[in-house]
Symmetry: C2
Protein backbone atom coordinates (compact mmCIF):
# COMPACT_ATOMS: atom_id res chain seq x y z
CA UNK A 1 0.00 0.00 0.00
CA UNK A 2 1.45 3.35 -1.00
CA UNK A 3 1.19 6.35 1.29
CA UNK A 4 -1.42 7.85 -0.97
CA UNK A 5 -3.64 4.79 -0.75
CA UNK A 6 -3.98 5.27 3.00
CA UNK A 7 -6.20 8.33 2.72
CA UNK A 8 -9.80 7.84 1.72
CA UNK A 9 -11.56 10.91 0.35
CA UNK A 10 -15.22 11.25 1.33
CA UNK A 11 -17.49 13.76 -0.45
CA UNK A 12 -19.85 14.87 2.29
CA UNK A 13 -23.24 16.33 1.45
CA UNK A 14 -24.96 19.35 2.88
CA UNK A 15 -27.02 18.34 5.88
CA UNK A 16 -30.69 17.49 5.40
CA UNK A 17 -31.52 18.52 8.97
CA UNK A 18 -33.30 21.83 9.41
CA UNK A 19 -32.46 22.23 13.08
CA UNK A 20 -28.68 22.00 13.35
CA UNK A 21 -28.61 22.75 17.09
CA UNK A 22 -30.93 19.83 17.79
CA UNK A 23 -28.93 17.50 15.53
CA UNK A 24 -25.69 18.63 17.20
CA UNK A 25 -27.08 18.00 20.70
CA UNK A 26 -28.20 14.49 19.68
CA UNK A 27 -24.82 13.73 18.13
CA UNK A 28 -22.99 14.96 21.26
CA UNK A 29 -25.11 12.63 23.40
CA UNK A 30 -24.46 9.64 21.13
CA UNK A 31 -20.71 10.32 21.20
CA UNK A 32 -20.75 10.45 25.00
CA UNK A 33 -22.65 7.15 25.19
CA UNK A 34 -20.15 5.44 22.91
CA UNK A 35 -17.20 7.05 24.71
CA UNK A 36 -15.74 8.94 21.73
CA UNK A 37 -14.49 12.46 22.44
CA UNK A 38 -14.90 14.66 19.37
CA UNK A 39 -12.57 17.67 19.20
CA UNK A 40 -13.50 20.33 16.65
CA UNK A 41 -10.32 22.21 15.71
CA UNK A 42 -10.72 25.53 13.93
CA UNK A 43 -8.46 28.37 12.72
CA UNK A 44 -7.62 30.72 9.86
CA UNK A 45 -5.90 29.22 6.82
CA UNK A 46 -2.27 28.52 7.65
CA UNK A 47 -2.44 29.00 11.43
CA UNK A 48 -0.85 25.57 11.98
CA UNK A 49 -3.69 23.13 12.59
CA UNK A 50 -1.96 20.23 10.84
CA UNK A 51 1.45 20.76 12.45
CA UNK A 52 -0.21 21.06 15.87
CA UNK A 53 -2.11 17.83 15.20
CA UNK A 54 1.08 16.00 14.26
CA UNK A 55 2.61 17.00 17.63
CA UNK A 56 -0.59 16.10 19.50
CA UNK A 57 -0.88 12.69 17.89
CA UNK A 58 2.78 11.89 18.53
CA UNK A 59 2.34 12.68 22.24
CA UNK A 60 -0.97 10.87 22.73
CA UNK A 61 -1.24 7.98 20.27
CA UNK A 62 0.22 5.35 22.58
CA UNK A 63 -2.32 6.12 25.28
CA UNK A 64 -5.51 6.75 23.26
CA UNK A 65 -7.06 5.41 20.06
CA UNK A 66 -7.07 8.48 17.84
CA UNK A 67 -8.55 9.23 14.43
CA UNK A 68 -8.50 12.40 12.35
CA UNK A 69 -11.05 13.77 9.88
CA UNK A 70 -9.47 16.41 7.65
CA UNK A 71 -12.06 18.74 6.17
CA UNK A 72 -11.17 20.78 3.12
CA UNK A 73 -12.87 22.30 0.15
CA UNK A 74 -10.34 20.60 -2.07
CA UNK A 75 -6.99 18.72 -1.93
CA UNK A 76 -5.78 16.07 0.47
CA UNK A 77 -2.38 17.48 1.41
CA UNK A 78 -3.18 17.66 5.14
CA UNK A 79 -4.68 14.18 5.32
CA UNK A 80 -1.55 12.75 3.70
CA UNK A 81 0.61 14.48 6.34
CA UNK A 82 -1.51 13.10 9.19
CA UNK A 83 -1.55 9.59 7.68
CA UNK A 84 2.24 9.43 8.06
CA UNK A 85 1.69 9.07 11.84
CA UNK A 86 -0.02 5.73 11.22
CA UNK A 87 -3.34 6.72 12.81
CA UNK A 88 -6.70 6.40 11.07
CA UNK A 89 -7.22 9.40 8.77
CA UNK A 90 -9.91 10.34 6.30
CA UNK A 91 -10.29 13.38 4.08
CA UNK A 92 -13.69 15.08 3.97
CA UNK A 93 -14.42 17.23 0.95
CA UNK A 94 -17.12 19.80 1.67
CA UNK A 95 -18.02 20.48 -1.95
CA UNK A 96 -17.26 24.18 -1.66
CA UNK A 97 -18.98 24.59 1.72
CA UNK A 98 -17.12 26.90 4.11
CA UNK A 99 -17.95 24.95 7.26
CA UNK A 100 -19.27 21.63 8.60
CA UNK A 101 -22.57 21.28 10.39
CA UNK A 102 -23.67 18.41 12.63
CA UNK A 103 -25.11 16.35 9.78
CA UNK A 104 -21.92 16.61 7.74
CA UNK A 105 -19.86 15.73 10.82
CA UNK A 106 -22.06 12.69 11.40
CA UNK A 107 -21.30 11.44 7.86
CA UNK A 108 -17.59 11.71 8.58
CA UNK A 109 -17.87 9.95 11.96
CA UNK A 110 -19.66 7.06 10.29
CA UNK A 111 -17.00 6.75 7.59
CA UNK A 112 -14.10 6.78 10.09
CA UNK A 113 -15.93 4.34 12.43
CA UNK A 114 -15.61 6.76 15.34
CA UNK A 115 -17.26 4.33 17.79
CA UNK A 116 -13.95 2.45 18.01
CA UNK A 117 -11.96 5.61 18.84
CA UNK A 118 -11.25 7.38 22.17
CA UNK A 119 -10.51 10.66 20.44
CA UNK A 120 -11.68 11.80 17.03
CA UNK A 121 -10.35 15.13 15.83
CA UNK A 122 -12.16 17.13 13.17
CA UNK A 123 -9.84 19.57 11.43
CA UNK A 124 -12.47 22.05 10.24
CA UNK A 125 -12.19 24.25 7.11
CA UNK A 126 -9.67 27.09 7.60
CA UNK A 127 -12.03 29.99 8.30
CA UNK A 128 -12.65 32.20 11.34
CA UNK A 129 -16.21 33.08 10.40
CA UNK A 130 -18.59 30.34 9.28
CA UNK A 131 -17.39 27.31 11.30
CA UNK A 132 -18.14 29.29 14.48
CA UNK A 133 -21.79 29.56 13.47
CA UNK A 134 -22.47 25.83 13.18
CA UNK A 135 -22.37 23.45 16.16
CA UNK A 136 -20.80 20.24 14.85
CA UNK A 137 -21.84 18.21 17.90
CA UNK A 138 -18.26 18.21 19.15
CA UNK A 139 -17.41 17.44 22.78
CA UNK A 140 -15.11 20.47 22.79
CA UNK A 141 -14.21 23.32 20.45
CA UNK A 142 -10.58 24.37 20.07
CA UNK A 143 -9.07 27.06 17.92
CA UNK A 144 -5.61 28.12 16.92
CA UNK A 145 -4.69 31.77 16.57
CA UNK A 146 -1.21 32.23 15.15
CA UNK A 147 1.13 35.08 16.09
CA UNK A 148 1.47 36.46 12.52
CA UNK A 149 -2.30 37.02 12.36
CA UNK A 150 -2.07 39.63 15.10
CA UNK A 151 -3.32 40.15 18.66
CA UNK A 152 -6.45 42.06 17.51
CA UNK A 153 -8.25 39.09 15.94
CA UNK A 154 -10.63 38.51 18.90
CA UNK A 155 -11.97 42.04 18.24
CA UNK A 156 -12.72 41.22 14.61
CA UNK A 157 -13.98 37.62 14.80
CA UNK A 158 -15.88 37.67 18.11
CA UNK A 159 -18.07 34.59 17.65
CA UNK A 160 -15.16 32.21 16.97
CA UNK A 161 -13.48 33.15 20.25
CA UNK A 162 -16.80 32.97 22.13
CA UNK A 163 -17.55 29.37 21.14
CA UNK A 164 -14.12 27.88 21.89
CA UNK A 165 -13.24 26.07 25.11
CA UNK A 166 -9.54 26.42 24.45
CA UNK A 167 -7.45 28.80 22.33
CA UNK A 168 -3.93 27.82 21.30
CA UNK A 169 -1.71 30.78 20.42
CA UNK A 170 0.64 29.17 17.91
CA UNK A 171 3.96 30.19 16.30
CA UNK A 172 5.30 31.77 19.49
CA UNK A 173 8.80 31.11 18.07
CA UNK A 174 8.36 34.03 15.64
CA UNK A 175 7.09 36.60 18.18
CA UNK A 176 10.34 38.62 17.86
CA UNK A 177 9.62 39.26 14.16
CA UNK A 178 6.03 40.51 14.58
CA UNK A 179 4.25 43.33 16.40
CA UNK A 180 2.44 40.93 18.70
CA UNK A 181 1.64 41.67 22.35
CA UNK A 182 0.83 38.42 24.20
CA UNK A 183 -0.77 40.17 27.19
CA UNK A 184 -3.01 42.24 24.93
CA UNK A 185 -3.94 39.12 22.94
CA UNK A 186 -4.92 37.24 26.10
CA UNK A 187 -6.93 40.24 27.33
CA UNK A 188 -8.73 40.44 23.97
CA UNK A 189 -9.60 36.73 24.06
CA UNK A 190 -10.86 36.94 27.65
CA UNK A 191 -12.98 39.97 26.75
CA UNK A 192 -14.82 37.72 24.27
CA UNK A 193 -14.76 34.61 26.43
CA UNK A 194 -13.75 34.86 30.11
CA UNK A 195 -13.75 31.04 30.44
CA UNK A 196 -11.43 30.29 27.51
CA UNK A 197 -8.34 28.29 28.41
CA UNK A 198 -5.40 29.93 26.60
CA UNK A 199 -2.21 28.00 25.84
CA UNK A 200 0.70 29.59 23.92
CA UNK A 201 2.55 27.00 21.84
CA UNK A 202 5.02 26.59 19.02
CA UNK A 203 4.01 23.52 17.06
CA UNK A 204 7.28 23.94 15.15
CA UNK A 205 9.65 23.78 18.16
CA UNK A 206 7.29 21.86 20.47
CA UNK A 207 7.30 24.62 23.07
CA UNK A 208 4.11 24.61 25.14
CA UNK A 209 2.72 21.50 23.46
CA UNK A 210 2.95 19.58 26.75
CA UNK A 211 0.49 21.96 28.45
CA UNK A 212 -1.95 21.47 25.57
CA UNK A 213 -1.59 17.69 25.64
CA UNK A 214 -2.13 17.77 29.43
CA UNK A 215 -5.33 19.79 29.01
CA UNK A 216 -6.69 17.47 26.32
CA UNK A 217 -5.71 14.30 28.24
CA UNK A 218 -7.53 15.57 31.35
CA UNK A 219 -10.64 16.26 29.26
CA UNK A 220 -10.46 12.76 27.82
CA UNK A 221 -9.92 11.09 31.19
CA UNK A 222 -12.84 13.02 32.74
CA UNK A 223 -15.00 12.02 29.77
CA UNK A 224 -14.30 8.30 29.90
CA UNK B 1 -13.33 66.23 15.68
CA UNK B 2 -11.67 63.30 17.44
CA UNK B 3 -10.09 60.52 15.43
CA UNK B 4 -12.94 58.22 16.34
CA UNK B 5 -15.53 60.63 14.96
CA UNK B 6 -14.03 60.37 11.50
CA UNK B 7 -15.23 56.81 10.91
CA UNK B 8 -18.88 56.24 10.17
CA UNK B 9 -20.16 52.72 10.80
CA UNK B 10 -22.75 51.46 8.32
CA UNK B 11 -24.80 48.34 9.07
CA UNK B 12 -25.29 46.80 5.64
CA UNK B 13 -28.18 44.43 4.98
CA UNK B 14 -28.20 41.16 3.14
CA UNK B 15 -28.90 41.78 -0.53
CA UNK B 16 -32.48 41.56 -1.77
CA UNK B 17 -31.33 40.58 -5.27
CA UNK B 18 -31.75 36.95 -6.24
CA UNK B 19 -29.29 37.02 -9.12
CA UNK B 20 -26.00 38.29 -7.69
CA UNK B 21 -24.08 37.83 -10.96
CA UNK B 22 -26.54 40.05 -12.81
CA UNK B 23 -26.49 42.68 -10.06
CA UNK B 24 -22.67 42.59 -10.04
CA UNK B 25 -22.46 43.05 -13.81
CA UNK B 26 -24.82 46.04 -13.63
CA UNK B 27 -22.83 47.60 -10.79
CA UNK B 28 -19.56 47.11 -12.70
CA UNK B 29 -21.05 48.92 -15.71
CA UNK B 30 -22.29 51.82 -13.58
CA UNK B 31 -18.88 52.18 -11.94
CA UNK B 32 -17.21 52.30 -15.34
CA UNK B 33 -19.62 54.97 -16.57
CA UNK B 34 -18.96 57.15 -13.54
CA UNK B 35 -15.20 56.51 -13.72
CA UNK B 36 -14.78 54.89 -10.30
CA UNK B 37 -12.44 51.90 -10.16
CA UNK B 38 -13.55 49.47 -7.44
CA UNK B 39 -10.83 47.20 -6.07
CA UNK B 40 -12.04 44.22 -4.02
CA UNK B 41 -9.23 43.22 -1.65
CA UNK B 42 -9.47 39.79 -0.02
CA UNK B 43 -7.31 37.62 2.24
CA UNK B 44 -7.22 35.41 5.32
CA UNK B 45 -7.50 37.11 8.71
CA UNK B 46 -4.22 38.83 9.54
CA UNK B 47 -2.56 38.56 6.11
CA UNK B 48 -1.88 42.30 6.11
CA UNK B 49 -4.71 43.93 4.13
CA UNK B 50 -4.79 47.07 6.28
CA UNK B 51 -1.03 47.59 6.39
CA UNK B 52 -0.84 47.07 2.61
CA UNK B 53 -3.63 49.61 2.15
CA UNK B 54 -1.82 52.17 4.30
CA UNK B 55 1.25 51.85 2.03
CA UNK B 56 -0.88 51.96 -1.12
CA UNK B 57 -2.79 55.08 -0.04
CA UNK B 58 0.41 56.86 0.98
CA UNK B 59 1.91 56.22 -2.49
CA UNK B 60 -1.21 57.09 -4.51
CA UNK B 61 -3.31 59.63 -2.62
CA UNK B 62 -1.73 62.72 -4.21
CA UNK B 63 -2.51 61.46 -7.69
CA UNK B 64 -5.95 59.87 -7.27
CA UNK B 65 -9.05 60.51 -5.17
CA UNK B 66 -9.23 57.41 -3.00
CA UNK B 67 -11.79 56.07 -0.57
CA UNK B 68 -11.82 52.90 1.53
CA UNK B 69 -14.72 50.74 2.69
CA UNK B 70 -13.63 48.49 5.56
CA UNK B 71 -15.87 45.45 5.87
CA UNK B 72 -15.92 43.55 9.13
CA UNK B 73 -18.27 41.43 11.13
CA UNK B 74 -17.56 43.62 14.13
CA UNK B 75 -15.14 46.31 15.37
CA UNK B 76 -13.78 49.36 13.58
CA UNK B 77 -10.07 49.00 14.35
CA UNK B 78 -9.06 48.84 10.67
CA UNK B 79 -11.19 51.79 9.62
CA UNK B 80 -9.62 53.89 12.36
CA UNK B 81 -6.14 52.99 11.06
CA UNK B 82 -7.06 53.93 7.50
CA UNK B 83 -8.72 57.19 8.61
CA UNK B 84 -5.35 58.42 9.93
CA UNK B 85 -4.24 58.83 6.29
CA UNK B 86 -6.87 61.55 5.86
CA UNK B 87 -8.75 59.80 3.05
CA UNK B 88 -12.47 59.09 3.08
CA UNK B 89 -13.13 55.91 5.09
CA UNK B 90 -16.26 54.10 6.18
CA UNK B 91 -16.74 50.93 8.19
CA UNK B 92 -19.24 48.38 6.88
CA UNK B 93 -20.63 45.92 9.40
CA UNK B 94 -21.91 42.78 7.73
CA UNK B 95 -24.12 41.64 10.60
CA UNK B 96 -22.35 38.30 10.93
CA UNK B 97 -22.19 37.69 7.17
CA UNK B 98 -18.92 36.12 6.01
CA UNK B 99 -18.75 37.98 2.70
CA UNK B 100 -20.19 40.89 0.69
CA UNK B 101 -22.32 40.45 -2.39
CA UNK B 102 -23.03 43.06 -5.07
CA UNK B 103 -26.08 44.46 -3.29
CA UNK B 104 -24.18 44.94 -0.03
CA UNK B 105 -21.30 46.55 -1.93
CA UNK B 106 -23.75 48.91 -3.62
CA UNK B 107 -25.01 50.07 -0.21
CA UNK B 108 -21.45 50.87 0.83
CA UNK B 109 -20.67 52.70 -2.44
CA UNK B 110 -23.71 54.89 -1.94
CA UNK B 111 -22.71 55.73 1.65
CA UNK B 112 -19.13 56.64 0.69
CA UNK B 113 -20.31 58.65 -2.36
CA UNK B 114 -18.10 56.60 -4.68
CA UNK B 115 -19.06 58.65 -7.75
CA UNK B 116 -16.65 61.35 -6.59
CA UNK B 117 -13.72 58.91 -6.25
CA UNK B 118 -11.17 57.65 -8.79
CA UNK B 119 -10.41 54.56 -6.73
CA UNK B 120 -12.62 52.93 -4.12
CA UNK B 121 -11.11 50.01 -2.22
CA UNK B 122 -13.28 47.42 -0.53
CA UNK B 123 -11.43 45.58 2.22
CA UNK B 124 -13.53 42.43 2.28
CA UNK B 125 -14.09 40.19 5.33
CA UNK B 126 -10.96 38.18 6.21
CA UNK B 127 -11.88 34.81 4.73
CA UNK B 128 -10.45 32.71 1.86
CA UNK B 129 -13.69 30.84 1.19
CA UNK B 130 -16.96 32.76 0.96
CA UNK B 131 -15.84 36.13 -0.51
CA UNK B 132 -14.53 34.23 -3.56
CA UNK B 133 -18.05 32.91 -4.26
CA UNK B 134 -19.76 36.31 -4.55
CA UNK B 135 -18.98 38.79 -7.32
CA UNK B 136 -19.09 42.23 -5.65
CA UNK B 137 -19.17 44.08 -8.98
CA UNK B 138 -15.55 45.14 -8.50
CA UNK B 139 -13.44 46.33 -11.43
CA UNK B 140 -10.65 44.06 -10.21
CA UNK B 141 -10.13 41.40 -7.55
CA UNK B 142 -6.93 41.36 -5.53
CA UNK B 143 -5.87 39.04 -2.76
CA UNK B 144 -3.07 38.90 -0.25
CA UNK B 145 -1.46 35.62 0.70
CA UNK B 146 1.01 36.03 3.55
CA UNK B 147 4.20 33.99 3.92
CA UNK B 148 3.27 32.52 7.36
CA UNK B 149 0.12 30.95 5.86
CA UNK B 150 2.24 28.67 3.68
CA UNK B 151 2.89 28.08 0.00
CA UNK B 152 0.23 25.33 -0.26
CA UNK B 153 -2.80 27.59 0.16
CA UNK B 154 -3.68 27.69 -3.59
CA UNK B 155 -4.16 23.91 -3.35
CA UNK B 156 -6.64 24.25 -0.50
CA UNK B 157 -8.60 27.37 -1.46
CA UNK B 158 -8.74 27.03 -5.25
CA UNK B 159 -11.64 29.36 -6.02
CA UNK B 160 -10.11 32.40 -4.28
CA UNK B 161 -6.96 32.14 -6.41
CA UNK B 162 -9.02 31.55 -9.56
CA UNK B 163 -11.07 34.74 -9.25
CA UNK B 164 -8.20 37.14 -8.50
CA UNK B 165 -6.52 39.33 -11.11
CA UNK B 166 -3.54 39.95 -8.84
CA UNK B 167 -2.05 38.09 -5.88
CA UNK B 168 0.23 39.92 -3.45
CA UNK B 169 2.52 37.63 -1.49
CA UNK B 170 2.99 39.65 1.70
CA UNK B 171 5.37 39.46 4.68
CA UNK B 172 8.37 38.52 2.53
CA UNK B 173 10.54 40.00 5.31
CA UNK B 174 9.88 36.92 7.47
CA UNK B 175 10.63 34.28 4.81
CA UNK B 176 13.81 33.20 6.67
CA UNK B 177 11.73 32.13 9.68
CA UNK B 178 9.18 30.00 7.81
CA UNK B 179 9.23 26.94 5.57
CA UNK B 180 8.05 28.89 2.56
CA UNK B 181 9.18 28.20 -1.01
CA UNK B 182 8.45 31.22 -3.23
CA UNK B 183 8.88 29.29 -6.50
CA UNK B 184 6.52 26.56 -5.34
CA UNK B 185 4.00 29.18 -4.18
CA UNK B 186 4.06 30.92 -7.57
CA UNK B 187 3.69 27.58 -9.37
CA UNK B 188 0.71 26.67 -7.14
CA UNK B 189 -0.99 30.02 -7.85
CA UNK B 190 -0.42 29.70 -11.60
CA UNK B 191 -1.81 26.16 -11.54
CA UNK B 192 -5.10 27.67 -10.29
CA UNK B 193 -4.91 30.80 -12.40
CA UNK B 194 -2.34 31.08 -15.22
CA UNK B 195 -3.23 34.78 -15.76
CA UNK B 196 -2.75 35.92 -12.18
CA UNK B 197 -0.25 38.74 -11.73
CA UNK B 198 1.90 37.86 -8.72
CA UNK B 199 3.76 40.51 -6.74
CA UNK B 200 5.82 39.64 -3.62
CA UNK B 201 5.78 42.51 -1.10
CA UNK B 202 6.53 43.39 2.48
CA UNK B 203 3.96 45.94 3.60
CA UNK B 204 6.02 46.29 6.78
CA UNK B 205 9.33 47.28 5.12
CA UNK B 206 7.82 48.63 1.90
CA UNK B 207 9.73 46.15 -0.24
CA UNK B 208 7.94 45.41 -3.52
CA UNK B 209 5.15 47.92 -2.84
CA UNK B 210 6.29 50.05 -5.79
CA UNK B 211 5.59 47.20 -8.25
CA UNK B 212 2.10 46.82 -6.79
CA UNK B 213 1.41 50.57 -6.95
CA UNK B 214 2.66 50.58 -10.57
CA UNK B 215 0.29 47.75 -11.47
CA UNK B 216 -2.70 49.44 -9.82
CA UNK B 217 -1.87 52.87 -11.32
CA UNK B 218 -1.69 51.36 -14.81
CA UNK B 219 -5.09 49.73 -14.29
CA UNK B 220 -6.54 53.06 -13.14
CA UNK B 221 -5.03 55.01 -16.03
CA UNK B 222 -6.32 52.48 -18.58
CA UNK B 223 -9.76 52.63 -16.95
CA UNK B 224 -10.11 56.42 -17.00
Amino acid sequence: MTRHDKVRIIEIKKSIFEDNDLEAAQLRNELREQGTFLLNLMSSPGAGKTTTLLRTIEAMKNRYKIGVMEADIDSDVDAKSIATTGIRTIQLHTGGMCHLDAGMTRQGLSEIDAASLDLCILENVGNLVCPAEFDTGASANAMILSVPEGDDKPLKYPLMFSVCDVVLINKTDVIPYFDFDMDRCIANIHMRNPNAVIIPISAKTGDGVEAWVDWLSKELDAYA
